[in-house]
Amino acid sequence: MTSTIVECHQLTKNYGKKKALNELEVAIPAGRITGILGPNGCGKSTFFRTLTGLVRPDAGRIEVLGKPPGWQNNRDIAYLPDRARWYPSHTARMALEWGNSFLPGFSMERAIQLCDYMDIDLDMRVRGMSRGQEARIMLILCLARDVQLIVLDEPFTGIDVISREAIVASLIDYLEDSEQSVLISTHDIQEVEGLFDYTVMMKEGRAIWSGSTEDLRAEYGSLRDVFRKMYMKEWNK
């Protein structure tokens, strides 16, 4: 395992006049649970899409697991896309079978255990599920993989509080003993306060702070306070 799992230099991606990533410089250590934090539109999702090869940067360099992003690299990355949904005609079991067929390192046994733990009925169709149940299925597709890097882009968006708490609890339970590196982006830090041991704060396509979450807390107080101080303008909107 490399000592840094993701490394970016001068990474830039423009959408028209908007700079989604603005000469981003960041190095994320391996084996940690890293929170990519920032308000909506700060470039978190573009960063994740870049590191899974979904979009190509306009300039700069990015290395994930020591290699440039691309489909080959995605064998070792479990990625939950932003605002993703699942195929409505699938049952939970069909979703797991999909994972088993196409995702390297996927363990059907572990996936079924996770479904049991997260209270998912394997024969229920996704179209009949709540958003929270659907989100849990997608999370299971990522967590049931034995890969070096798990990337979860806004895994809590649009999910009710109870499901959100259940998901965070399972993430904490599951990831505590895992040696996998995990990147989680969110603009909603309340529930995930205790989850991260490394934090990258983003604003306008740049990393404005990165380091151990303990150091961040020592400097600013709780993550909520950090958010309030660093994103005063967005916070007041």
Binding site: L54, N73, Y79, P81, Y87, S101, F102
Partner: protein, 258 residues
């Protein structure tokens, strides 16, 4: 990618259906859909039977109900890619650890297999209808049924043979709308839609114009009423299909705008 994974991908695409957008509409129960289907079916079959009873039905012209197949095929191709965006599943699809040219090829093959199944279904259903007519009405003979089936095979072979290209163009249209080439999509709509009509205007030397009109009495349909140029044109369309799929792989790899 090993062949078992590719087979699974094709199977996934073949079975893939359903849309969150349609799901969010007010649901019409299955009973209502069945009722609408039966009303339309009764109207179509009733009209054809009425004309048949009055000896005014040229049975080979029944194949005209399938004349819209080429357009339908284009929109199947278009829809199969569009559905990934509509359902917000494109992130899962495009981050699978396989070359995007293979992802798109599996999608294409899934649609083509569905189409072939649809063609066989239409052929069997219409042939069965004409067979029943021939048993019930003295104006139609078993020879006419044979002629009807031959004309159907001739026409549907044409649809099946050109559909690989049409499906791939439909898919390309949808992909282009999600890439940096999006500004050219209005032009491509015009080109593709008018281009489809070319299929119906291939010169008489390639496709006989009266293929679907003849077929009764002394005008029996014949096997393969095309000239030798048709297989060549079809072969060229398959080469173009391959090129179109490779191009789509390139677009998804290098030009995607999400």
């Amino acid at each position: 990618m090993d062949s078992a994974v590719f087979r699974n991908l094709v199977r996934h695409e073949f079975r893939n259906k359903g849309s969150w957008r349609k799901q969010s509409r007010i649901r019409v129960s299955r009973g209502w859909w069945l009722a609408y289907f039966l009303i339309i079916l009764t109207a179509v079959v009733g009209t054809m039977t009425y004309f048949a009873i009055n000896n005014e039905l040229q049975i080979n012209s029944i194949w005209y109900v399938t004349m819209g197949f080429p357009y339908m095929v284009f929109f199947w191709g278009f829809g199969t890619v569009k559905r990934e965006w509509e359902n917000d599943t494109y992130g899962w699809w495009l981050t699978m650890p396989f070359p995007r040219a293979e992802l798109i090829t599996a999608k294409w093959l899934g649609v083509w297999l569905k189409l072939l199944l649809g063609i066989v279904f239409a052929f069997v259903l219409l042939s069965a209808y004409v067979f029943v007519l021939s048993l019930a009405l003295p104006a139609y003979s078993l020879t006419d049924v044979g002629s009807f089936m031959i004309a159907g095979i001739d026409w549907l072979t044409l649809v099946a043979g050109f559909s690989p290209l049409i499906i791939s163009l439909g898919m390309m249209m949808s992909i282009i709308q999600n890439t940096s080439l999006r500004p050219i999509s209005p032009v491509l709509w015009v080109v593709f839609m008018s281009g489809l009509s070319l299929l119906f205007q291939l010169p008489d030397s390639v496709i006989s114009e009266s293929m679907l009109q003849e077929g009764m009495g002394e005008y029996q349909a014949e096997w393969f009423p095309y000239s030798w140029e048709l297989p060549i044109v079809m072969g060229v369309s398959w080469i173009l299909t391959y090129a179109a799929l490779r191009f789509q792989g390139y677009l998804l790899e290098k030009k995607l705008e999400i």
